[in-house]
Symmetry: C2
Subunit: 308 residues, 2 copies
């Protein structure tokens, strides 16, 4: 007798184990031989959008979970760690970040974080380019603490391929101070975001001393050679490239690498340029200045491979 | 058709999935609703010792894995992170650590790390008190890169309950500069290591300004209230108590909390007192001064709960 009856619903990532339904994240290419599982309380939605398989379920202990192509994108319980780090590291590393571009970010967690800087008066313009409007709509319904600002007049949402959008900027003077690539992993619609040409498009779309950050889809324990190569690619385009890590339980290995880059060689990206006002710090659950700096610290073996 | 034939062998943590055998770590009490799995290449050993269920298998991607009572203790691929942090943080935080006591540590990874300080001339005496000699014997056979020094004349091994050993010290003048509690989790023979009385026994066994460190069995995402309580208990006995984290993929959530304590209030435990000689740094794969400091940095929400 199952506690939960899924009827005829099946999904390749969902199994019955001992009277319960479990979601298991497996990827023979990216992380062979290991698998992380979450117990399911309820299936909330499943669909194939034009671009990807979208599964949303309520887990017994981590709140609602968004899964794209079988890979966990976020859970309600720990999403703030990633959203805060990928947003506040580049914005706090910039002396005057007025125009922000988010590529991807359909769950709307990053724009929620950017809005904090709009409300502090620093950021003046926020644009998000997401390819799959289904992700935005479903996040609004099932991840309401993340998708709070997709209808806010302070945010311009463009439904388009981020890669194509950046190409269109080559003939325009529109430039950004900070670009945040919050994409899914390279398998799927985000594949182009991990190639050298993408870094060239990013550079073109940045103001002088602008900063880009992207999720790397990897961490030092999974595939450090891939990370090394991604850094080498980034360094072909940017003079100042750094690797940092976000530590959160729901990503594989409990950590996800990010790459941050600028052509301003004087900017020590591992130290924030500004401090958060004391009365605003309670809005930040993960990020603080010490976390910003500590995220760049690596174990010896990884440091020598990636930073030398 | 299974790639691997286990014959009649069964274990509650091992399942067949799609023609493969997988080990799944589940604990409804400590981490309900989540489970981490490793694909099995070969079962190396299984036994019930006098104290616990001991399973050792070769995984397809993480080398040999030691499991006690269904909980992963270490894998060959990432064990050095934990062994180095729990050993070098207290030793490098002490100005003159001559006598070291290890409680538990049957896989012998901690004494491997302590020996580095013997070879640098700092540490003069190493004692390890492990309750289960079966763990030492099996580690020597299946984890040879960890269990290298259990027969070394520079290490005194005592097969005894660490708790009883500390009690016996109450009537002796034998004291230590650093005590490292490398126990398994509270469920099982290590239960006593997480109670207030244990901190009193540790204090009694320390020289003035001595330092103790213990694994907490938890992390900030799993059960922060338990951690808060453990810190409160430790603070009843020690004036200077700090929490730090080790980030490694094979522990639940990818991170494990440690508690370090001393009665020397002038000692900022988050900053090492000494530097490693330049010609010795290559012996350390995880630990360096920056990692030491970064391990104490916590996200805002956890910092306010644990440190205020």
């Amino acid at each position: 007798m199952l506690d939960l009856d899924l009827g005829s619903f099946t999904h390749p990532s969902i199994s019955q184990v001992g009277g319960k339904y479990w979601f298991y994240e497996k990827d023979e290419q990216s992380f062979p031989g290991q698998s992380f599982g979450l117990e399911i309380e309820k299936i909330l939605h499943h669909t194939h959008s034009k671009y990807q398989d979208i599964l949303i379920f309520k887990s017994t202990k981590f709140g609602n979970v968004l899964v794209l192509n079988g890979i966990i994108q976020c859970t309600e319980r720990d999403e703030f760690a990633y959203q805060e780090l990928i947003t506040h590291v580049p914005i706090m590393s910039h002396t005057n970040p007025e125009k922000i571009l988010v590529i991807g970010g359909g769950d709307c967690g990053v724009i929620r974080e950017v809005i904090k800087h709009v409300e502090m008066g620093t950021v003046k313009e926020v644009t998000m380019v997401e390819i799959d409007d289904m992700v935005i709509k479903l996040s609004a319904k099932y991840l309401p603490q993340m998708a709070k600002f997709h209808n806010d007049p302070r945010v311009k949402i463009i439904i388009d391929d981020g890669f194509e959008y950046l190409k269109s900027l080559q003939t325009q003077s529109n430039k950004y101070d900070v670009i945040i690539t919050d994409s899914s992993d390279p398998e799927g619609p985000a594949e182009e975001f991990f190639k050298v040409n993408y870094f060239n498009l990013l550079l073109n779309a940045l103001n002088e001393n602008g900063i880009v950050i992207m999720q790397s889809s990897e961490n030092i324990w999974l595939n450090i050679n891939y990370l090394k190569n991604l850094l080498v690619n980034a360094k072909q385009v940017f003079h100042n490239v750094r690797y940092l890590q976000c530590y959160m339980p729901l990503y594989t290995s409990g950590q996800l690498g990010l790459i941050v880059a600028t052509n301003d060689c004087q900017n020590d990206l591992s130290s924030p340029q500004r401090s958060l006002p004391a009365d605003k710090q309670s809005q930040f659950k993960y990020y603080n200045s010490a976390v910003h700096q500590a995220s760049f610290v690596l174990p010896n073996w990884a440091n020598s491979l990636l930073n030398n």
